[in-house]
Symmetry: none
Subunit: 319 residues, 4 copies
């Protein structure tokens, strides 16, 4: 029947669009605006084979390497690269210090009156305001991940395919490096550290830093799925609010994890940002924790995600 | 008549969903999203026996121990555990001090220029921003209690069953302990105290601390019911605002109770958080006040709740 | 067919109005309010020749010099001039310093306790609150650019014609000069510098300053298109929010770029503002970077804009 | 025809209400609330003669002195007087200083750590929050001008008649004086200055102060028309937002103009407030600039207003 199929077409792009975008645009009744379905562009071969597959990519689809031939995915990766470049430049620039800048407390105000406290506060505020605006800009096309942590998490939740993950992360990391080159030019020196990407390993062991990085990424991913990515969530708020909530949790964890322990400047949450800031200065031996922390958090989150009682396989439901 | 029964069915799931969730999702006319009814999952035996019982669980239902066989309740408890772990980690990390850190005022600005004032302020702000985002994430499934204080209060208000209360509190406390282990790893030492969970018993008597804990929990529960839990409340604001009001009252009481008296670092309001922070450091002799305070406040609130002139037994109403 | 043409007429004025305005008014069903189509007034010759051309001006139209004869464009330029005068006056006045005012850090708080940090913070806040209100005022007529950076960016994205760009930029620059004369009168001296327009070339090389200026303008343009200018964007938020997002990104970049490097007072983002402040004080040798930075950023953005997979030529679509 | 006249009656009160009110109440379909048409009460003789004249008063109407016999205008003037008294008292009380209180900077924080900076900041915040609430209260009756600057601007834009302007300004100034008497009683001394109304003429020439006063009033009027008064503006935001925007621009200009130049405490923007504060202390020789600045700004704005291409004479349109 015509009415039914029309209804089907109505819901279909919505679900598909919502799967890996950090902000879902409202339905457009007039239909004049053309949206791209974040992860499964309509004209891709993957999609045509299984039109009913929506929120979750089937296992064999995940490993379908033909996605590397999809021009749209490459374009999305370029957009992620540009946004990651801008994000890395501004949030690293505002957190940039000469290596000796972090001071020990000398007054009764303790740590709260030193740059050790204020630097991550201002970095967190910069993220809180910059990231939502970048997500708004990218959400209708690439989905606005910007951050490899979120790209990994959507992959392990089977929302995007392996080629898409690889292209996005390469784009984001390359964008971070471009931002790093810009910082290098703008600062005129390589002798600095960036808040969130600096661990004084003589005071803080790498294992400790990894624990904080893991917990921070888990909180970020859990909230990002709860307020934006999970298509099964009943939204309590306007879609326009989701990017701001992600900005808040990013800024909050960046700030709250940064000043408690001497020698540790806070969780990174974004490996591309630290990669870029190391391109601008020098690579430390502990850079792997900024990649392994998000990776482990994305894996653990995927387990929680499938255990969640709200989960219903959309294919089971529609059959 | 058909119209009447349709209207009845329309209101029914709404009431049941709202009873123990800290944020009520809007009704979903299309019906594509599947929500769980926070406390009485549709397929539980309790529910099938008395489908009209909604906001309040009957007395014999409260003690029906078959709820322990309900798989959904176990899954909800796991989600509460995960959220409690993240909440305990971040809010304890930001409030963590070496035991000697709290300073006496030395300038004319008095207490307002010491870490004794700023530490609970920043802890309160962290709660204000973190807790609402976690509630958004959990509200459609477990209801987003996160905190044993609120779980106890919903039990005494006959909104959830005894098995649900036990499973939730065990989950929240275990999550607190997991968060404590993460703090332990990340800080690399057991020699610290956490704001809101530390009482200097040589200066402040345990009885005094219990009085503040009780008053703080009562304020929290009263406001949480007023803005989110009580199904009889006429809401003046969008449902999306409720979690933020709970975050604000949590942060406000945490901060406002913390700096007035020397040797007392503020009301806990969340026994699972203190339990976790003691796992990370050491258990003090006065830990019982963080459990007895919320328990007494939940009992007293239940009396206020049933005395409230707005209360109407839903079964009386429908008969 | 009737349905199609009706749909076409519905979209037409909307698209044309949205092309170069920083805030699109909602459609007015009653029709009592008369709006002007920002860039292509209905009665202009350009428009009558190609009524289907909407979001993008055709290449030969861009260079149609008859736009200089359009009285409305001149009136719009006068409005841009007035707004630029007020914007330049207030945001420069609040950022005005005697040349020696920027202090080096002397306490453990480092840069965060000096006027070097607070001055751009307050300048950024002034922009965040002033610019959206000016955009609201101008959006229904000239589009509310106020800033040559955004006018250049809309030109390179083929949203406005060459004559419109020239008239706007001349108006904005002349308005900046008028604001500069007012500052000159109000301050009673030419011996000062203005934050965002001052580079100590003995410490910071001009190339470094250009790098920051370019990155800042790119971020501004990218976000301005993402949240307001790009007609292909699916808006996630109310149109009323766009001007505030532009205010936020302006204030954020102004502040975040200003205090990291000694001798550099932050990105300008608005060449007309610096032009005006130099009229009030003296022109430095490096003023060209405040024009070349936005120019290069607008060019680079135009390339990203046309690469974006969301781009569909509206003429191709409607044929 | 009936349909046409119904449509006419629908639009008519809307336009008339919007002409000189700083917040337009939403249309009330039920009709239970009774609003007054700001400037031309329905039962006045002026109105009955020319029912089609709405947004703009005809030239001979402007000078019709029979308005002085209109009882409603007198009632509105009393309301303006009461609001002006409250506004003057609170915003002057918060800005009140002993003459020696404004300090020179002594630390590296410069001006930002002195009462010279904080006093106008808190005054501006008080205005930002107080004025919108007063406008909400008065908008349905007198229009909520409160401030002679806005009354002058609406007169020169031909929105109100000469008698209305005179009655309003007399009421506002008398209210300012009443507020001044209250300050005098509450402070117990005449030996103080009020921020925004004090110029140290030994340091700042009166001509310089007039330049800032003029620019500040022009910004205020321009934005007030853009966001609230101009009936031709396409509103982008809820009507509830207009008073807040006016509060923001008032607070912003008050604060931003106040601390840059030593000896000048900021633009007044409201001659009635300064008049009241001089009643409470003593009248200086330069009080005329607080009246001439707004007068000149209102005149210049009227020219811009009629040049604006959006302007269409409503009588031409309806004929």
């Amino acid at each position: 029947m015509r009415g039914t199929s029309k209804c089907y077409e109505y819901n279909e792009p919505w679900n598909r669009r919502s799967t890996a975008s950090l902000a879902v645009p409202p339905l457009d009744p007039g239909g004049s605006t053309k949206y791209y379905e974040g992860n499964n562009p309509r004209d891709s071969k993957i999609d045509l084979k299984a039109p009913a597959a929506t929120a979750n990519v089937l296992l064999f689809e995940v490993l379908d390497f033909r996605g590397f031939l999809n021009l749209d995915l490459w374009k999305f990766a370029v957009l992620e690269c540009v946004a990651s470049m801008m994000n890395t430049f501004l949030t690293s620039w505002v957190a940039l210090h000469p290596p000796s800048a972090l001071a020990s407390p000398q007054t009764e105000l303790g740590i709260y009156h030193t740059s050790t406290f204020f630097s991550p506060l201002f970095t967190g505020l910069t993220m809180t305001f910059l990231v939502p605006l970048l997500i708004y800009t990218l959400a209708p096309s690439s989905g606005g991940h910007i951050n490899p942590t979120l790209t990994m998490a959507t992959f392990f939740a089977r929302m995007i395919t392996f080629p898409q993950m690889v292209l996005y992360i390469v784009g984001q990391t390359f964008g971070g490096a471009l931002g790093g080159f810009a910082i290098n030019t703008a600062y005129g020196s390589r002798d600095f550290t960036v808040g969130g990407c600096s661990v004084n390993t003589s005071v803080v062991s790498v294992k400790d830093a990894l624990a904080i990085e893991f917990m921070g990424c888990l909180i970020l991913i859990y909230v990002a799925f709860g307020v934006a990515l999970d298509p099964r969530q009943g939204r309590l708020f306007s879609h326009a609010a989701s990017p701001w909530f992600i900005g808040i949790i990013l800024g909050l964890v960046t700030w709250a994890s940064a000043f408690t322990r001497e020698g540790y400047s806070g969780a990174s949450l974004n490996p591309a940002r630290c990669f870029g800031s190391y391109v601008a200065s020098t690579f430390p031996s502990y850079h792997w924790i900024h990649w392994f922390g998000p990776f482990a958090a994305a894996l653990v989150h995927a387990v929680i995600y499938y255990l969640s009682p709200a989960w219903v396989d959309p294919r089971t439901q529609s059959s």
